[in-house]
């Protein structure tokens, strides 16, 4: 049965994209979702084709692709060879091939790695994840070593890489329960509050600066204050959600109102979609105009949700600014207006329809006295299994593993079955029992066996690659990109700026936001939606290669990180090791150490740089001591020790075309540090 459902699901996706006239059978619904079926069973089950009714969707467009048939075993991401795609069409896909083999051999699993936590739920998690490995006949990667795991758990829980001394202390710690201890320590770290405040502020109102005339920055700050207090007190998540959905009052007195106020435009259509997506894990945007193509959600459901917000109204007050003679932002408030009755929406055939407020089977009185948002907030957080808990568990799991039980994490529902439905259900129920304790949820996840595995794939689990669209099996950690905020904060930690007193978190927060605006691109709509050009793009690479942030990080300024490393005792080996630990939380390999020392010696041209390059520099005076960067560097250099100063003076003299390039050994250290910060290993959380 389960198998049948999964199969029809796959076909349906393939069959219809644009034409959405599919009504799915009731089998898709009910209290529990289709159980997870492994891909082998799916492709070999003879029962799969029997349920013809459910595959109708495919038939509606016979010219569309056949499912799962043209998969090459050694598939590359894109098949550029057009002929090859057709040629390979009859070949069976990798999954099918695997499925064509006999019943799964039992794989041998060692006893699950234990972090030291005694919570019984962790055992349940491990069992359910392992069940997926066994069913798919794949083996987990080994446990991550201490450095790899420390870097990961710091980035995930508190949003930046660990300081060197923390890594060293951790490696030296012989306590078997040391990983559990670190998790608990990080959950109590002030940076935990900051990290989750950032994450949720970005989700709730985006990264954009907002309209200054309308108090954009102040509103964001007030929302952050609300979040900060919530995470600092570890308030139950259901209470936070109720506040965000039902808040009233002034933007600065009740920071929670700033979420909805950012989305109340356009008849609260954005507020409807955002509330469903963020708190319920449901993407209902498309149902504002038509019934959901892939499941039973109907257009009226979107508008039923929408009518919840009918009483919500933003009032913005302006005041006269004597200095400029203009009206400026004074304050904004979210008020309950005396609205009653339904909202109206237009069907695709042009007919107008009405929608009354309700959530699932519960109707909310449509009179003016009933506070619809308060009622809605209660309804979505009542009971032992709630969509609010499901959504949070899924999002959290996705945060820590890079993939949730569904992809994307906020598009849950029968059309997108979870990879581990029983695990999701259990975690959700336990999360509710634990009074929506976010820290407890994090403990469960971080103490699980899967979270402690290395990100290196093994030949036995290479197929577990959700980037290819497969459902995740969590046999190894998936590599995640650092967010802009994580990168920024990690640079501060890696360069010890947090200790020098040059930068406190408050300042860093502001600087970070300013810096980040370069990566935020608005879509030009009324909904203030935006994208970021941060991850893996050329602008990001250019920023890392040449931007001020990294220039500062590698500067030789007095009191700066690099200078302190250089002034420390110890030879090149120790200095290189220190730089590796602070950026990558590991020591260099032999090969890396050799290369690093060559780069450090770069000024003396020990086989690294050919003569032509030198002459290039000499003849052109490429650096030539001009330009702001060069002069800044020269300024910094003046503060350096005498020897350094002389060397730099010589470098400046290099402006004369014929002067021979005199390098300081410090250039090499800068170049090494530059390379470490620019490396894929630094920019990825693995």
């Amino acid at each position: 049965m389960v198998t049948v459902i999964r199969q029809s699901h796959a076909k349906r996706f393939l069959g219809t994209f644009a034409i959405c006239a599919v009504t799915l059978g009731a089998a898709w619904f009910g209290s529990s979702w289709p159980a997870y079926a492994d891909t082998k069973a799916e492709s070999k089950s003879p029962a799969k084709a029997s349920d013809a009714k459910k595959t109708e969707a495919k038939k509606t467009e016979p010219n569309k692709a056949e499912p799962n048939k043209t998969d090459k075993p050694d598939k590359k991401s894109v098949d550029t060879d057009k002929a090859a795609a057709e040629k390979n069409a009859p070949e069976k896909g990798a999954e099918e091939k695997a499925g064509a083999e006999k019943a799964p051999k039992s794989i041998t699993l060692k006893e699950a790695f234990a972090t030291g936590s005694s919570d019984v739920l962790i055992q349940f998690i491990n069992e359910k994840v392992r069940q997926g490995w066994i069913e798919n006949n794949i083996e987990p990667s080994p446990v991550a070593d201490d450095g790899e795991w420390m870097r990961r758990v710091y980035l995930d829980i508190i949003g930046h890489v660990p300081p060197v001394e923390d890594v060293e202390a951790f490696i030296a710690d012989k306590d078997k329960a040391k990983r559990t201890k670190v998790i608990d320590k990080l959950l109590d770290d002030p940076a935990y509050v900051r990290n989750w405040t950032t994450i949720w502020a970005n989700l709730l109102v985006g990264r954009g600066a907002g309209n200054a005339n309308m108090g954009g920055p102040q509103r964001r700050a007030a929302l952050q204050k609300f979040l900060r207090e919530s995470f600092a007190k570890n308030r139950p998540w259901d209470a936070v959600v109720r506040d965000l959905v039902s808040a009233e009052g002034r933007y600065d007195q009740n920071g929670a109102v700033n979420f909805l106020m950012a989305h109340l435009n356009d008849g609260a259509v954005p507020a409807t979609a955002m509330t469903a997506k963020l708190f319920l894990g449901l993407q209902v945007q498309c149902t504002q105009c038509h019934n959901h193509p892939f499941n039973e959600w109907k257009q009226n459901q979107f508008w039923e949700y929408n009518s919840i917000f009918k009483q919500a109204r933003e009032v913005t007050h302006q005041k006269y600014d004597e200095k400029t003679g203009r009206m400026v932002f004074d304050y904004a408030e979210l008020v309950k207006q005396e609205a009653e009755g339904p909202v109206f929406f237009e069907r695709r055939n042009g007919l107008m329809q009405v929608a009354y407020p309700r959530y699932e089977q519960y109707e909310i009185k449509p009179d003016a006295d009933t506070n619809r948002r308060q009622e809605f907030a209660k309804l979505i957080t009542q009971g032992e299994r709630t969509q609010v808990a499901d959504a949070m568990v899924n999002r959290m799991w996705g945060h820590f593993f890079g993939y949730g039980f569904t992809k994307p994490v906020d598009d849950m529902g029968p059309h997108n079955p979870a990879s581990h439905p029983e695990l999701l259900e259990k975690l959700s129920v336990e999360f509710v029992k634990a009074k929506y304790d976010q820290k407890q949820l994090i403990r469960w996840i971080c103490n699980s066996e899967a979270y402690n595995l290395t990100s290196k794939m093994s030949p036995k689990n290479e197929v577990d690659n959700p980037a290819n669209g497969e459902r995740p099996k969590f046999t190894h950690m998936y590599v995640k990109s650092l967010s802009a905020e994580q990168l920024y904060d990690s640079l501060i930690i890696a360069t010890n700026a947090h200790k020098s007193g040059r930068s406190n978190w408050e300042q860093a927060e502001q600087q970070r936001r300013m810096w980040m605006q370069q990566f935020v691109v608005a879509f030009g709509t009324d909904e203030n939606d935006e994208s970021t050009t941060f991850n893996g793009t050329i602008p990001q690479a250019l920023m890392m290669m040449n931007g001020e942030l990294v220039q500062n990080a590698i500067s030789l300024e007095k009191g700066g990180y690099l200078r302190s490393v250089l002034e420390d005792k110890g030879g090149d080996d120790e200095k290189v090791k220190e730089m590796y630990m602070s950026t990558l939380s590991r020591v260099p390999t032999k090969k890396e150490l050799m290369a690093a020392k060559m780069v450090i010696a770069g000024g003396n041209v020990q086989g690294l740089v050919p003569k032509e390059a030198k002459s290039a520099k000499a003849s052109g005076g490429a650096k030539a001591g001009k330009g702001p960067k060069a002069s800044k560097e020269a300024n910094n250099a003046k503060e350096m020790a005498d020897a350094m100063e002389m060397a730099n003076a010589a470098k400046t003299a290099n402006a004369a075309p014929k002067a021979a390039p005199v390098k300081t050994p410090y250039d090499g250290y800068q170049d090494l540090f530059w390379a470490l910060l620019n490396s894929n290993e630094f920019i990825f959380n693995h």
Binding site: F17, A18, C20, K64, A65, P67, N68, T70, D71, K75, S77, V78, A85, E86, A89, G93, C286, C289, P293, K456, M457, A467, N468, G469, Y478, V479, V521, A522, F523, T525, D526, G536, T537, I538, P539, L542, M545, N546, T589, K591, E592, A596, V599, G602, G607, L608, V609, E612, A613, S615, K617, G620, A622, A624, K629, K663, N678, S679, N680, E681
Partner: protein
């Protein structure tokens, strides 16, 4: 120029020489791929310029007016250079160019949420949780960019907007997002020290190769590829193409000295440099209120000048038959005018403009009913628009991609080129 080349030596030669002589640090060879001193591309190369109207423009007020209908609004139609084709009175410059432009008046696209519509119109596919489809600029980048080895700057540039994801085509085909002022942040001003840049990249390569070799998926390799592109860009003369402010002020003025105009002008410069796909963004179309004032006073004058000047300029330079122009947003707006004198989201019946590219231009394809509420006759999907573009660019329509999970996907979601346009 940044990397200084010894006299009597091309930079390519220089780099290759360098690479071979630093065998001590492996993997430096990619620096040798720097394309040095590439000839300015003179030959006619195909390209597409997408003018993206973020927010959803009211095409009933621009391309498909309904005088006499209750939905007709405030504007009057005017004749264009194409006989029988009328457009909005606030688009006079564009109207003059209609020998080289066309309208498809029978789009019916269903998705009227910003995010979903944006995805659908850019990719020809509706959003789907199991796969991320490439935005069409990435498709063109993948198809044509790879055949232009002399191109040192990215083969897909998006001006003043982010387009959509390159999806399964990977980050090397991602839109390079720039501002219409032409400043490329952190690309440097030529003060790179060749020695140090090489040292840095040599060391970087050691670290990156180690990480790639440790088998952690595709992202680490992709990071390295993107760095190579960034370095290419940093050291390229083709960066000049972005410097739109170096144009003759008169030229700048003709495009409208504003962000959209500069974007259109930069697009023409980029086409000349060999970039096959440029997306120029003009936002602010989400006109739920006060639609007519906003259009006549703000949006349309900007739009009209931009399209008019770009089309005229491409024609004057003999490029118009090689460059396809596409104008669209994520959807259009309701024929019905709401109580705030605005129009809301509408995807059932609307218009896209297309032009140039050697298409049979000067016509309006398809029609909507008298109130603009539904399409009469055949309706078109974004895949049909992109198939038409593919045809004009010479990209075979039987091109099939295989997504990472092994699913074959025909280019433009199996759309068909619009017959009236391809003759």
């Amino acid at each position: 120029m940044s990397l200084i080349v010894p006299e009597g030596m091309s930079r390519r030669h220089f780099m290759q020489h360098m690479a071979t002589s630093v065998a001590a640090v492996p993997g430096l060879q990619f620096l040798s791929h720097l394309q040095a001193n590439a000839e300015v591309v003179k030959k006619k190369q195909k390209a597409c310029i997408l003018m993206w109207m973020g927010g959803g423009p009211p095409t009933i007020d621009i391309w498909d007016l309904k005088p006499g209908s209750k939905n007709g609004g405030e504007f009057k139609p005017i004749n264009t250079a194409a006989s029988g084709v009328q457009i909005c009175e606030h688009m006079p410059e564009t109207a003059k160019q209609f020998k080289n432009l066309s309208i498809v008046r029978s789009m019916s696209t269903r998705e009227a949420d910003h995010g979903r519509g944006r995805y659908f119109m850019h990719t020809a596919y509706v959003p789907n949780p199991t796969v991320i489809h490439p935005t069409f600029g990435s498709v063109v980048s993948h198809e044509l960019g790879s055949k232009r080895p002399e191109l040192e700057i990215p083969s897909f540039v998006s001006i003043d907007g982010g387009s959509e994801s390159p999806g399964f085509l990977g980050m090397t085909n991602a839109p390079f997002v720039v501002g219409s002022n032409g400043d490329i942040r952190n690309a440097g001003g030529g003060e790179f020290d060749a020695n140090r840049l090489n040292n840095r990249f040599a060391m970087l390569d050691v670290i990156e190769s180690g990480f790639i070799g440790s088998k952690r998926g595709e992202a680490p390799q992709s990071h390295k590829d993107v760095y190579k592109r960034a370095l290419n860009l940093m050291t390229s003369k083709q960066m000049e193409a972005f410097k739109v402010n170096k144009e003759d002020p008169k030229m700048l003025e003709s495009y409208g000295n504003n962000a959209f105009g500069k974007g259109c002008l930069m697009a023409r410069r980029l086409v000349e440099a060999g970039v096959p796909f440029i997306e120029v963004n003009l936002g602010g179309w989400d006109l739920h209120a006060n639609v007519f004032d906003t259009l006549s006073n703000q949006r349309l004058p900007v739009l009209d000048k931009g399209i008019g000047a770009l089309t005229a300029d491409l024609t004057a330079r003999g490029m118009i038959d090689d460059v396809v122009l596409v104008w669209m947003g994520e959807f259009a707006r309701t024929p019905r005018i709401n109580q705030d004198v605005g129009r809301d989201h509408w995807a059932a019946s609307w218009s896209v403009m297309i032009g140039g590219g050697g298409l049979k231009n000067g016509q309006a394809v398809g029609a909507t009913d008298k109130d603009g509420l539904s399409v009469e006759g055949q309706a078109y999907l974004p895949g049909d628009i992109w198939a038409t573009v593919s045809h004009a660019l010479g990209i075979p329509l039987d091109t099939v991609y295989t997504s990472k999970n092994g699913r074959p996907m025909k280019i433009a979601n199996s759309g068909n080129p619009i017959k009236q346009l391809i003759g």
